[in-house]
């Protein structure tokens, strides 16, 4: 029972409560830095790092922070880890830092991070909070990766820089531009929602069959 709850805390961030496809949080980086796979993964991992560390610290301090200053405290903590993440990114790959540019600093205002801090980390133990943050962050990274893969393959003809289609491919450049970001996001949301609807329908059918059988 406890194990199920723990597993669920982690897994829900990946699909059922995916921050991008279900909660529609963090739209700004989702649209802005998914024009290539390395950018998308780097942004996803950076956000996950900030999310996990902030959730941890918020959870550790949750009994100390008075309600009236909780938003200010959360923001301070998140901003700190974004600064740390920025230094780490510069040290690991200064090229990625250049291509992500201003959007690393914008991780501070990614609603997903403040949202998890306010709704989960401030009310649960550090271990559980870190799991929740990890699941949400990975869900975010996966969503960004899907966006990045589609946009780069169609919009530039490459996957992480490796040409995919061959020399005669005419890239559909709009896919790398902001317009393309909206198109791809809309399509992915359509697919995710269609799948979820189908699953719900199948489950409802199954349950009504079971009910008939019981009767």
């Amino acid at each position: 029972m406890a194990n199920n709850q723990t597993a669920d805390t982690f897994l829900k961030g990946l699909w059922k409560e995916n921050p991008v496809f279900v909660h529609l949080l963090g739209m700004c980086p989702t649209l802005a830095v998914t024009n290539s796979v390395p950018n998308a993964i780097a942004m996803g991992l950076a956000s996950t790092f900030v999310l996990v560390m902030s959730s941890l610290l918020v959870s550790l301090l949750r009994h100390l922070i008075p309600k009236q200053v909780r938003i200010a405290s959360f923001i301070m903590i998140i901003a700190t880890f974004v600064t740390v993440a920025e230094y780490l990114i510069q040290a690991v790959s200064i090229e990625i830092h250049k291509s992500l540019g201003a959007f690393i600093s914008l991780i501070v205002v990614n609603c997903m991070i403040l949202g998890r801090a306010e709704s989960f980390a401030s009310k649960h133990a550090p271990g559980l909070s870190m799991l929740d943050a990890l699941g949400t962050g990975l869900g975010f990274t996966i969503a960004l990766f899907c966006m990045g893969a589609v946009r780069e393959v169609i919009g530039a003809g490459t996957f992480a820089g490796i040409p995919v289609w061959g020399p005669h491919y005419q890239p559909w450049v709009i896919m790398i531009l902001p317009g393309g970001g909206f198109f791809v996001l809309g399509l992915l949301l359509l697919l995710v929602n269609a799948w979820n609807e189908r699953m719900k329908r199948l489950k409802a059918q199954e349950e009504s069959l079971v009910a008939v059988e019981d009767n």
Binding site: Q68, A72, I77, T83, L88, Q90, I94
Partner: protein, 194 residues
């Protein structure tokens, strides 16, 4: 009285978090500083090679505390200089490196190293091919002038970017200042490291 308690608790908590933040930031800054400086130096060297067409290797040099690069071809002859400079842009400081021909009469290359200009507008100074082309053969014998996009008539003029006037003009003035204050310190002539 309980109001005071609440107030002081808030102040204490915020103070504690601020202290933790400070420690974390300073620690990570100090730990990553050597690596970051190395990475930045590598980027500058790569850029220096790019802004001196024909250069295959670099020779770092300095004069009066001004650091610059000589670009050398395969025969170790100097084919140009690269000077790093910076100046205030629209948002923050813009760091650039530019290449100059041996006789100092022409700018032969330009690259933005660091800028915090507005994404989509000012940051075009980094990528807009038409803007960057201005610097492939920029006449340095005359004062530089940034003109409206499309109005360039002389080789010392720079076609500005529509929608990024301030950033374009900032680039023009920081280059102008560097050419007159920094480039002039480097003596002309110089094959074989002289």
């Amino acid at each position: 009285m309980s109001q005071n308690n609440k107030g002081s608790r808030m102040i204490l908590t915020l103070g504690l978090i601020a202290t933790i933040s400070g420690v974390l930031i300073v620690l990570s800054y100090q730990l990553t500083l050597p690596t970051i400086l190395q990475n930045k130096a590598r980027l500058v060297q790569q850029a220096a090679l790019e802004v001196i067409p024909g250069a295959v290797s670099l020779q770092a040099d300095s004069i009066n505390n001004l650091h610059f690069f000589r670009g050398l071809d395969a025969q170790q002859n100097s084919v140009g200089l690269a000077v790093e400079t910076q100046g205030q842009g629209f948002a923050d400081v813009i760091r650039v490196i530019y290449g100059v021909s041996l006789d100092r009469k022409q700018m032969i290359g330009f690259k933005v190293l660091e800028s915090k200009e507005t994404p989509g507008l000012g940051d075009k100074i980094e990528k807009d091919t038409a803007f960057l082309q201005n610097f492939n053969a920029l006449d340095l014998t005359h004062d530089l002038e940034v003109v409206k996009n499309g109005k360039k008539t002389h080789a010392w003029q720079i076609d500005g970017i529509t929608g990024a006037t301030i950033s374009s003009k900032a680039v023009g003035s920081l280059l102008q200042r560097s050419i007159h204050k920094e480039l002039t310190q480097i003596p002309v002539g110089g094959a074989h490291g002289k």
